[in-house]
Amino acid sequence: MRPTVVMRYVGLILLLGAAGMFASAIIGMLLDGHAVPVLLISSVLVACFGAFPMVFVPRVKEFMPRESLAVVALGWLAMSVAGALPYLLWGSPFNLINALFESMSGFTTTGATILRNIEVLPAGLLFWRSMTHWIGGVGIVVLALAVFPSLGSGGRSLMRAEASPVALGPKVARARDVAQIVLYVYVGLTALETLSLMVAGLPFFDASTTAFGTIATGGFSVRNASIAAYNSVAVESIVMLFMVLSGVNFALLFGFLVSRERPQGGTTTAFTYLGILAVSTFIVSLDLHARHFGTWGETIRHGAFQVISIGTSSGFATTDSSIWPGGSQAILMVLALICASAGSTSGGIKVDRVVLFWKLLRARLYSLGHPDSIVTIRVENKVIPADSVRNAMFFVVSYLVGVVLASLAVALTGTPLVESVSGTIACIGNVGPGLGTVGSVGNYAGLDPLAKLILAGVMVFGRLEIYPILLLLSRRFWR
């Protein structure tokens, strides 16, 4: 392990944050000018910390696996701390813990907020808040790879450390090419949604920040009432469409739209993901009709929006789902556990692993009836190595154990059980809204500071799929 090399590349990642703060300062200057000094000072400060290690530490050609993991895990943590600076410098309602929570929620694309009144914040700060979603959504390392050629050949191991192990990439050799493909899809979708929302009548500021939150499957809105504030079927439909698209593996989207090459297994996952959303919408609509909404139109409108919002780990809201019947809430919580496809910007266990789990269950049942048979797991006629299946199942178990332990820890701070469990599921899955006071129209402001810290930590655990952060905590890792 070469700690100064890790420091150099964490610094490189921080430069992205500094650039984002600078861009937000410019937007702030054009709109209301209130948070400009705060954003500029933060930008310069973060840039100093990011650039200075490069003065001393030379470039390296290759990373050791441990260094890649350390760069990714520390990069995410450093970026979250740096991202809290503008909030801290702004002051009320942000204290140290609130600022960290908001920043981690932004970068991990969770979308959980401690803000009771969002609309009182200046435009520049709100833009930065949405930009943290956009930077974190695509992955800070992927973004760094696409922007900085200096990451070079070591980029592949960095990218492997950040991406979900079950994510299926496009068939290109260089890590930088993969990063650029992902970035093309990401920027393309963001631009398309911004334009569509502007056509639907939103001003540029609202359209762009909503697009940042949608494509990153984050959920930060610049309005207190989230998407409900616009009360527009057109806006809701556009947001729904882009939430669904953002939950699909980007390599599959790129293959479908540009290269005509599809990653192995991606189509099965995509159809399963769309099927889960459709079935959930149907059941939730049946459960809600006549109990909460008068017409089928209204029922499907709000039911579909909330299902897609939670099922893609976005977290936008058009209605208060915390007052829905228990059945609908249970479906939303299951969706918050699963979320969308690997290789997208969503969190959770991911549909890819659910598909593997389902195939494994069927194979297990078959082998019980045919004890002498050798059963293989196949996705789209390709045999999945036993090692990959075992890793996926181990992840599911670790994830659920993580949910139980974190819920327990949050509950021990005095948080009610519903908020503890649903808040933990929502934060580890990077979904945002849970149930009760932390529901779709609520916030996390009322939680104990320790509970906020635990949930902020849980968000990073979920975003990096547990292991990189666990490794950071291991003493052997640093030897």
Binding site: V38, C48, F49, F52, P53, V55, F56, V57, P58, S92
Partner: protein
């Protein structure tokens, strides 16, 4: 980058951070002191004016009671002085409107005062306590109530502003503290990088030079600092390759 530039950057950045911290805190505290001055000057003037009006009203009330008890001359003197004091205080309040609700309150003070004065002059000939209690007293209470409202509104505003200033004070000191902490962390980072990428290579070079006479061979240490230390290691390697061979011959 040369060693000199590296060192200069390492020392300059924390100094700039501390300087920024100082300027930021100074600017915020300057704004804060101006807010405090404005707060004291504007709201306190209105509160003082309301107090003066209340005292003047009390004196007018005393004059009415003196008139009832037959001391007309003293009552007239007191009443004239009280009227002048009230009107002067009202003038101050009218010229110092800082709160949205103040104009309406001032209008109600003017209206109720006019009513009180008209009634007082009309009933001056009726020197009995019953007329005072039934007619004068309610009119008097209406004016004092309006004046009280003016005082309360300004006090509330002052309290609200004080809370806002407490928040501003926190915001004024926080960036300074953050920049100071950042400067400390930066200095520690600089010290570590200096140790890893300047002191360690220098030690490696020193070790190699010390071993040179005993081994009669200079083994170039693995130095990639990109500055004068790396240049020195390469120069010594050139010296070894140029003169080392000759000595062996």
């Amino acid at each position: 980058m040369s060693l000199g530039k590296k060192l200069l950057l390492g020392f300059l950045i924390p100094v700039l951070m501390l300087l920024a911290s100082g300027i930021w805190s100074w600017a915020r505290f300057h704004n804060l002191s101006q807010s405090v001055q404005a707060l004291l000057h504007e709201n306190d003037r209105s509160i003082q004016a309301a107090r003066d009006m209340s005292i003047a009203l009390e004196r007018m009330d005393s004059a009415i009671l003196l008139r009832i008890s037959g001391e007309t001359a003293t009552a007239d003197t007191l009443d004239h002085a009280a009227q002048a004091a009230f009107e002067a205080a009202l003038d101050v309040a009218v010229n110092n409107v800082t709160i949205l609700a103040e104009p309406a309150i001032l209008d109600s003070i003017k209206a109720s005062y006019l009513e009180f004065r008209t009634l007082e002059e009309a009933l001056r000939s009726k020197r009995d306590i019953k007329t005072y209690q039934s007619e004068m007293m309610p009119a008097f209470l209406r004016v004092t109530h309006s004046v009280d409202r003016l005082r309360r509104v300004n006090q509330d505003e002052m309290y609200g502003e004080a809370i806002h200033i407490a928040d501003e004070a926190f915001r004024a000191t926080l960036p300074g503290r953050i920049l100071v902490i950042a400067a400390i962390i930066f200095t520690l980072m600089f010290a570590w990088l200096l140790h890893e990428h300047t002191v360690k290579p220098l030690n490696k070079l020193l070790h190699a030079v010390k071993r040179w006479p005993t081994t009669e061979h200079f083994r170039k240490p693995d130095v990639h600092s990109g500055d004068e230390i790396e240049e020195l290691a390469e120069s010594l390697d050139i010296v070894e390759r140029t003169f080392g061979g000759r000595n062996k011959k």
